[in-house]
Symmetry: C2
Subunit: 312 residues, 2 copies
DNA sequence: CTAATAGTGTCTCTGAGACAGTATCTA
DNA sequence: TAGATACTGTCTCAGAGACACTATTAG
């Protein structure tokens, strides 16, 4: 149940109980909300990270996030707020419009008591799919925020000790079984593309694991839901949509079969009746444009190419 | 990031920072862990509930759960502990063995500031699949715990106000999008089967919504994972496995096609080489018995009969 | 014996994927 | 013009579901 037996339930009259209740009399737990914000830039998947200005993990990159404002906001609201703060998307009407197009869903909660050296921090992670956004302006919110290609990150779980403290390494944050399946995929840092300067070797806290879980979720999610369109602008072409799937899955897809399959799923995309102004950069005819349809589940689904090794 | 900027990051030397840090100086949030424990009894899906002995919602049924022991346990450990306490499965070796066969995974986190009238409580919900367990012994852990058929519960979101307090009704706890898809299914209390006495009309807090989310997750999960076997004993027959799917999905399945399909999925079930001692209660040959195989994902999946209305 | 059930065979339809082919565009 | 690309046609194969059928058991 939501809250019981710890502040000994003397329970008779509730208002009396409420008055006598002192929430600060017990060992505290901090609740934060972290966001795995994914976007597509130059054809590859990027994640929003902030550089830590203070210990622990000073100088390391971390997921954007912050404390839940106790008594004042829902978890979802906190996630939206953090995302807006860190992307600099707030204030203007344009920013609000951009924010409203971002898909946001809860990813999972990580509560290992040692994941933060300062105290027991329970972190509720969210997953966001965003269309290509401008670079966060420096100074928009203290920390330095930037988009990083996920292929340049080390997603293996942290080893060794956390910097400047005697705390043993994070094991894994939370999730007995996980949602999309076992997290048997601490994808080793891929060789290509180091776009934004030198690659951050590792993320702060257990954020590498949270990011890995987010990527797993994203890969699974676009199979059954039309959310791949959340990575694109309002109007898009089938080849652009294919590029999303190829980037998220890191798989080459057959252009012809993909095209026919997308159009065969009812409610996935709606035709706009127009085409692009120009053909592709390397030639080819102009592509027809589409908008996201009203389906919330893809039927039939766009299943990933079978990877036999992921089954067991 | 996991914990930053609130306790103003004066950050230079970290140990100094740690010493000066007083976690109690900020508005507190309580963290609890609640468990949606599902099992199959007499061919229908049941959930473990406890009767609240104290306000708020005194006398109402709620999901088993309790406070996270700050600094001492992981969320997963807390969920296992709560489940063990409430089912009475602790102490003996048999109990430990039974516990180890239960599947447990994180479901989602609910953090609406008004979901508990006493304070802001963030609740991490877990989902458990258990084989048919004995009735919890009364007095095993203060509260009265019992298995309730889910068809007898009112899963619509609460309306009105929470009892004995002026707090407005819970909206919904958390989850922008949800995981398994939109929670467009506050299943109206079904007509049949009121096995365990008079039906509880509504659950405490936002537990009706948590349970509904858990049911959604369970229904989706058994499509792609072999976890339906977690509802059965170590050895089981294909018809017993079919009964699990029928109960969870609330759909009649074709016996012949189901049989062939299960055997066609590699690693789903392994034959034991033996059969049951007797035929079914209403006749028929003895069935061969199987054990859970080593697959962690079903390929191909056992898709639910298409429900056109759930797509949009 | 009768009725119900376990398990198999078979047919049809849908959808995935391989491959080919045409039209259209960039450079 | 050369080469790449958008999009369509067609073939094959796997799998889902409908239906039929046999064998085996309870009552």
């Amino acid at each position: 149940m939501a809250a019981e037996q710890r502040p000994a339930d003397t329970g008779t009259d509730e208002s009396a109980w409420l008055a006598a209740y002192d929430p600060r009399a017990y060992t505290p737990v901090a609740v934060t909300v972290d966001v795995v914000a994914l976007t597509l830039r130059h054809g590859s998947l990027h994640v929003l990270l902030v550089e830590r200005a203070a210990p622990p993990y000073q100088g390391a990159w971390a997921l954007p996030g912050g404390f839940l404002r106790a008594g004042k906001e829902d978890l979802d609201e906190a996630a939206v707020r953090e995302l807006a703060e860190e992307t600099g998307l707030h204030g203007t009407a344009d920013a609000e419009a951009a924010l409203s197009r971002i898909h946001l869903e809860q990813l999972g909660t990580y509560g290992n008591p040692d994941r933060d050296p300062r105290m027991h921090v329970v972190s509720v992670a969210y997953l966001a799919f965003a269309p290509d956004l401008p670079d966060p302006e420096a100074g928009s919110d203290a920390a330095t925020a930037a988009w990083h290609p996920v292929t340049a990150l080390d997603l293996r779980p942290r080893s060794g000790r956390s910097p400047a403290t005697g705390v043993p390494a994070d094991t894994h944050g939370g999730g007995v079984g996980g949602h999309t399946g076992p997290a048997t995929e601490p994808t080793v840092a891929a060789p290509h593309a180091a776009e934004t300067g030198p690659a951050p070797t590792a993320l702060a806290f257990d954020h590498a694991r949270i990011l890995a879980d987010g990527l797993d979720r994203a890969r699974a999610k676009i199979e059954y839901s039309p959310l791949a369109t959340a990575f694109l602008q309002h109007d898009f072409t089938i080849p652009e949509l294919r590029a999303v799937y190829e980037a998220v899955w890191d798989e080459r897809l057959h252009p012809g079969n993909f095209h026919r399959k997308v159009l065969s799923v009812p409610g996935f995309v709606d035709s706009t009746g127009t085409t692009t102004e120009r053909g592709g950069t390397r030639g080819g005819p102009r592509a027809r444009t589409y908008r996201a349809g009203d389906a919330r589940l893809l039927h039939p689904a766009l299943l990933r190419p079978t990877r036999e090794d992921e089954i067991r």
